[in-house]
C-alpha cells in the first residue's frame, strides 16, 4: 500500500501535465510543440543511434570530469583557506572577483588560450561549479566545534588525524550542500561550453536541431538534459544518504528530544 502511495505521488502530477499537453496539441496544433507520442518516438530515434556514442556519452563524460574536478579543487582549497586565517584574508578579494565572472564570458578567452578541446570544456565546467563547493567547505571548516577542537588538541591528535577524523567529517554536511548546488551549475555549463566552435556533444546537437528547425528533435534533446539532471540528483541523493548516515541519525534524535 505504501509503495503504491509513493508511486502515485511520484507519477500523478507529471501524468496530469502530460495529459494537458496532449490535449492542447490536439485542440491547437502547433509546429513548435510536438505531441507527446511524437516526442517519445523522436526521442528514441534520435538518441538511441550512434549519436549516443558520438555526442551523449562524451558530453556526460566531460560533465563527470567537471563535477569531480570541482569537488576535488573545492574541497582541497576550501580546507586550506578555511584553516588559515591569513590565507583567507589574502585570497578573499581575488576569489570574490573570479567568482563574479560569468563562465560563458570566459569562453572566447579560454578558447584562445587552451584551444577548442575537451580540456577547455572541462575547465569551463570546473571554473563555474567549483564556487559553491569551495565556499561551503571554507564555512564548514571554520565552523568546527570549539569543544571538539579542544578535545583533539588535548589528546594531541596529529595534523592528518585531525583533518581526517575531525575537520572533514564535521564539515561534510555543509560540503555536500555545496556539491548539490554545483551539480546544477555543472550541467548548465556543460551545455554552454558546447554552444560555440564545437562540432560534437549534446549541447551542440540540440542547438543544431534548433538552427535547422528540427523541432521535435530539439525538444527530445531538452528532455534528455532534464533526465540527465534527474539522474545526477538521484545519484547524489544516495551518495549523500550514505556519507551522512550519522548526520541524519543525529538530527532525528535531536528532533525527537
Amino acid at each position: 500500500m505504501k509503495l503504491l502511495k509513493s508511486f502515485l505521488y511520484l507519477v500523478s502530477l507529471p501524468a496530469i501535465l502530460v495529459l494537458l499537453w496532449w490535449i492542447s496539441t490536439i485542440v491547437n496544433p502547433n509546429f513548435y510543440v510536438p505531441t507527446p507520442a511524437e516526442l517519445v518516438g523522436t526521442f528514441v530515434d534520435t538518441w538511441f543511434s550512434d549519436r549516443f556514442w558520438r555526442d551523449v556519452l562524451p558530453s556526460i563524460g566531460r560533465l563527470f570530469l567537471g563535477v569531480i574536478g570541482s569537488i576535488v579543487f573545492g574541497v582541497v582549497f576550501g580546507i586550506l583557506i578555511g584553516s588559515f586565517r591569513t590565507l583567507r584574508r589574502l585570497l578573499e578579494p581575488l576569489l570574490e572577483f573570479f567568482r563574479a565572472i560569468p563562465p560563458p564570458v570566459m569562453l572566447p578567452l579560454l578558447m584562445i588560450v587552451m584551444g577548442v578541446n575537451w580540456r577547455m570544456q572541462v575547465f569551463v565546467i570546473i571554473f563555474g561549479s567549483v564556487w559553491p563547493v569551495l565556499l561551503n567547505t571554507v564555512e564548514g571548516v571554520r565552523a568546527t566545534d570549539e569543544v571538539q577542537r579542544e578535545t583533539s588538541r588535548s589528546y594531541r591528535l596529529t595534523r592528518t588525524d585531525r583533518l581526517r577524523y575531525l575537520i572533514l567529517p564535521a564539515a561534510a554536511p555543509q560540503i555536500m550542500a555545496g556539491v548539490r548546488q554545483s551539480l546544477s551549475i555543472a550541467l548548465i555549463l556543460m551545455v554552454i561550453s558546447e554552444l560555440w566552435y564545437t562540432s560534437s556533444g549534446l549541447g551542440f546537437t540540440i542547438v543544431q536541431f534548433q538552427r535547422n528547425f528540427a523541432i521535435p528533435e530539439m525538444w527530445s534533446g531538452i528532455l534528455l538534459l532534464g533526465l540527465i539532471g534527474l539522474g545526477l540528483a538521484v545519484i547524489f541523493r544516495y551518495a549523500e544518504r550514505y556519507i551522512l548516515r550519522w548526520y541524519h541519525g543525529l538530527r532525528e534524535v535531536q528532533r525527537e528530544s
Binding site: 570549539e146 569543544v147 588538541r153 589528546y155 577524523y165 575531525l166
Partner: protein
Amino acid sequence: MSLDTTPTASSPVLVVEGLRKVYPAPTPGGEAVEAIRDLTFTIEQGQLVCIVGPSGAGKTTLLKCIAGLLPPTGGKLELEGKRISGPPRTMAVVFQEYGRSLFPWMSVQANVELPLKSAGLSKAERHTRSTEALEAVGLADAGSKYPWQLSGGMQQRVAIARAVAYRPQILLMDEPFAAVDAQTRADLEDLVRKLWKELGVTVLFVTHDIDESVYLGQRVIVLSNRPTVVQDDVTIDLPDERDQLTTRSDARFTELRHHIYAEIQRAKGNTGDTNDASQRRAV
C-alpha cells in the same frame, strides 16, 4: 595555610606556583580581565583533588591552563618537573559538554580508540584497551553504537572511557557531571572513585557542587572570586571506602561540607584584593 596532606616520598606530580591569567581587552578601548591573580598549590601523585569556587572564579580557566590549552600570563606550571607549554602527553581531559566532545560521526568504540590511534598504537592493542575501558565504565555492549544514540550519562561514561583507555598519569575533569541528572551523577561519582583507585591515576576534579567535592576528594581547594587566589585548602579526612548513603550522612561529612560552604560564601565576597589569609580557620 594548607593542612598537611599525606607525606609521600616522591616529588609532587603537579606544581602550580603564582599562576596568573589575564585576558587581553577584546576591543582597543576595553578592559583586560584578570581572571586568575595568584594560584599556588601542589598535587601529589595518586591524589584525588577537587577544586570548588563561586561562579566565574576561573575554575575552567585554571583547568585549561593546566591542560595546556591556554597559555598562562605568568607564574609556574609544571607537570612531573617539566614546564607545561602545550597539552602534555600524560594528561587526559574530560570536558563538561560531553555532547560536543565526542565525535558523532564515529561509533563509541572508534571514539575511545581515536587518541590511541594518534599515539601510534597497533589495531589489536587499541581494540583491547578500548574494550577494557568500555567494560570498566559499564558500557561493554555500547561499542558499535553512535554517541547520539546514548543518554547523557552514558555519553559522559564514553568520554571517561576515552580518557581511561589513554592511560594518563593525570586526569583532569572539568565539571563533568554538571549537565547530568542527580541519580546518574551519583553513579558517575562512584565510577570516578572506583577508576581512581583501580588505576592509581592522579585526578583533578573541578566542580561547583560542594557535596560532590567532599564526597569525592581527598582534598578540596577552594578558590576565591575573580581575580582568583586560593581561598582555602581542606583535607578531607573521611574514610577511604565511601558510599553514597553512609558517607553522606556521616557527621564529619556534614562538618566538612559546612566549612567549605562557609568558605565559598566568604569567597563570593572575597577577591584577590580582599582575601585575608589570617582569617582562614582550621577545621
